[in-house]
Amino acid sequence: MTTLAAATRTRTKPIIQIQDVVKKFGDFTAVNGVSLTINQGELFSLLGGSGCGKSTLLRMIAGFEEPTSGRILIDGQDISGLAPYERPVNMMFQSYALFPHMTVEQNIAFGLKQDGLPKAEIKKRVAEMLELVELGRFAKRKPQQLSGGQRQRVALARSLAKRPKVLLLDEPLSALDKKLRERTQLELVDIQEELDVTFVMVTHDQEEAMTMSTRVAVMDAGEIIQIDNPHAMYEYPNSRFVAEFFGSVNMFEGVLDEDEADYVTIQSPEISSRIYVSHGIAARQGQTVWVAVRPEKVFIGRQAPDVTDNVDQGTVTDIVYLGGISTYMVTLDSGKVVRVTVPNITRQAQADITWEDRVWIHWNPESCVVVTQ
C-alpha cells in the first residue's frame, strides 16, 4: 500500500521551480514555455510520448542543456549557467551509463571521490548503498558481469551515493522485462520513501507513472497539458489528449444541448440515446464537446436496462480474455466501437455473452467526463 500512502502525503516545500522555460534546437522548439513546481519529497513523473520534450526538460535540470529562455531554481537557487558537476542533483540514465572498466564498488564510489571525501567515509557510504540495493555480494564485479536488473540497481546506488537534493531518473525501468519492472517500481518507491529524496522521473509508460508517482505532468509537443495526482489524472482528465494517453477510454463527440448548473445533456451522432452528465461544465450551448467514459464504467448486458439516457444497443465484434478481466468490443448501430471491460468474477468466462450477440450498453450519469479540447 506504499503507493497509496505516497499519493496522500502532502508536500509543500518547493525544491524545483521551473519558470517559463523554453528550449529551441535551431527552428525546433523542444520545450515551449513550461512552468512547474516540484515539492520536497515528491516522486514526480514527466509523462509523454517520444519527442514531447520530457527528456529535454530533465536534461536542463541536470545541466546537459541550457534553456533558451526562462529560469530553473533548485532549493531557491538559480542554477542557470552552472555546469552539471556543480549542481546539487544527480541523474540515473536510461542506459544506466555504468563505467565498464570499474567494479560495482568503484562505480558507486566515483562521485564521492570527486567530492574529496576521506577514504573511510567513502567506504562507509559505498557499503550503505550496496546494502540499500542488496548488491553486497557483487561489489567486486564489473558491470558486464551483472544482469540487467542488477545493473539498474548499481546505477541507482551510484546516483544516490552523493545524497543529492533531487534525483533525476530518465526512463529508469525501460530496459527491464515486464515482471522485473513491476517489482522494481515498488522497490524504487520504497527507497524513495526511505531516503526522502525528491525523485523526478521521465517515462512514456502511463502505468508506471500511475503506480509510482505522487504527481504526474502529462506533456505533449513541448507543453504541459495537465499536472495532477494519478487518481485525478485518470478520473478527471482536462482534455481528450490526457484521457486517451492515460489509460484507455471511449470518446463520444457531440454537441452541448442543455447547459444547466447541475447537469448537462449532449447529442452525439455516435450513440442513439441522449448523453446525460450529472454535473455542470464550463462550456456554451451548441459547442462541440467530447464525452469520455472509461471501459470499466460501462455496463454490458443482454437485457435492456431501465434507463433512457447513456444507453445503446450493439453487436459484440471482439472479445479479449486477459485473465483477470475480459474486454468486449461492442459495435453500436452508428458504427462506433465501444470498449467494455468486465472483471471475471467466476471461473466461467462470461459464457452468456459471445461473438455476434446483440447486447445493451449503458453507463451512469456520474461516470463520464466532458472535455472541451
Binding site: 552539471p84 551509463a97 558481469q145
Partner: protein, 282 residues
C-alpha cells in the same frame, strides 16, 4: 549448403587464396635456398639468415626503422586521438566539414605528393629558421606522423561514435570536471582503439618506402629503402630471409592479438551467462 558445395565455389576459393599467398610462400621457400641465385634451387640451408645478422647495413636500417616507427606512431596516436575526439564530440562548429575533409585527405593522397610536399616544407623551413637542420630520422618521423595520424583519427572517431555518450555525462553529473572525465572515463574505455591505432601507425611507418625516400637524409636509411635499393642491384637471397622474418613477425602479432581478443570475449560471455543464470534463481 552442407556437403554439396559446388565445384565452382571451391575452385574460386582455392584460386583466390593462391593468388594472395603463393608469392609469399615462394619467398619463404627460397629464403632457405642454398644457391646464390634466387631462382635456382640447389638445396636447403639457413646460411642467408646468418649472413643477414652480420650485415651492419641492414641491422642499422632496421634500428632506424624501428625508432622512426615507435616515435611517429606515438606522436600520430596523440594527435589522432585529439582530432578524433574533436570530430566525435564537439558537435557542429564552423569549419567542421573542412576539418573532416582535411583530416581524411592523407588517406587518399598519393604518397609521392605527400612525400614531395613535406620535402619542400622541410627545405624551406631549414632556409628560413634553420630547423630542421638537414634531413634524417627526425624528418622521417615527422613525415610519418602526419600521414599515419589520419588513420588513427578515423579509428578513434569511430570508436567514440559507438561509445555511449551518457557514460561521460554520468561522470560529469557525479562531479568530475571535463579533463577528469577524459582521463578517468573516456581514455580507459577507448584504450583498445588507441592501441589498435598505434599498432596500425607503427606498421604503416615500418613499411613505408615512398615518403621515407623523400624525407630521409644521407645517414638515415630505413629498412624498406635498403630492401628496395639492394633489389635494384639484383635480388639477394638475404632479402628473402629478411622478408620471411618480417612475415613471421606480422603473422605472430596478428595471431596473438586474435587469440587475446577471443579469450577476452569468451570470458565476458561466460560472466554474462553466469549473471543471467543467477538472476533466474532469485
Amino acid at each position: 549448403m552442407g556437403r554439396n558445395r559446388s565445384f565452382f565455389l571451391l575452385t574460386a576459393l582455392g584460386l583466390g587464396f593462391a593468388f594472395l599467398y603463393v608469392p609469399i610462400l615462394l619467398l619463404i621457400i627460397y629464403s632457405f635456398n642454398e644457391n646464390r641465385l634466387v631462382t635456382v634451387w640447389s638445396g636447403f640451408s639457413t646460411k642467408w639468415y646468418l649472413e643477414l645478422f652480420q650485415d651492419d647495413n641492414i641491422l642499422d636500417a632496421a634500428w632506424v626503422s624501428l625508432r622512426v616507427a615507435v616515435f611517429s606512431a606515438t606522436i600520430a596516436t596523440i594527435l589522432g586521438t585529439i582530432a578524433g575526439m574533436v570530430m566525435a564530440r564537439f558537435g557542429r562548429f564552423r569549419g567542421r566539414t573542412m576539418f573532416s575533409g582535411m583530416l581524411s585527405a592523407p588517406l587518399v593522397m598519393p604518397e609521392v605528393i605527400t612525400g614531395l610536399s613535406l620535402l619542400l616544407l622541410f627545405v624551406a623551413l631549414e632556409q628560413a629558421i634553420g630547423i630542421p637542420a638537414g634531413r634524417g630520422v627526425s624528418t622521417i618521423t615527422i613525415a610519418h606522423s602526419t600521414f599515419t595520424m589520419a588513420f588513427v583519427a578515423v579509428i578513434i572517431q569511430s570508436r567514440l561514435a559507438q561509445m555511449d555518450e551518457s557514460v561521460e555525462e554520468a561522470a560529469l553529473d557525479l562531479g568530475a570536471r571535463p579533463a577528469k572525465v577524459f582521463f578517468a572515463i573516456t581514455l580507459p574505455i577507448i584504450s583498445p582503439a588507441i592501441v589498435a591505432g598505434w599498432l596500425l601507425a607503427f606498421t604503416m611507418s615500418l613499411d613505408d618506402l615512398v615518403v621515407a625516400s623523400f624525407t630521409s637524409g644521407p645517414a638515415s636509411t630505413t629498412l624498406p629503402m635498403v630492401v628496395f635499393s639492394s633489389v635494384r642491384l639484383g635480388v639477394s637471397p638475404k632479402i628473402n630471409a629478411l622478408a620471411t622474418l618480417l612475415v613471421l613477425v606480422a603473422a605472430l602479432t596478428i595471431l596473438l592479438a586474435a587469440w587475446f581478443m577471443r579469450r577476452q570475449e569468451a570470458q565476458r560471455d561466460k560472466a554474462a551467462a553466469a549473471a543471467a543464470a543467477e538472476e533466474e534463481r532469485f
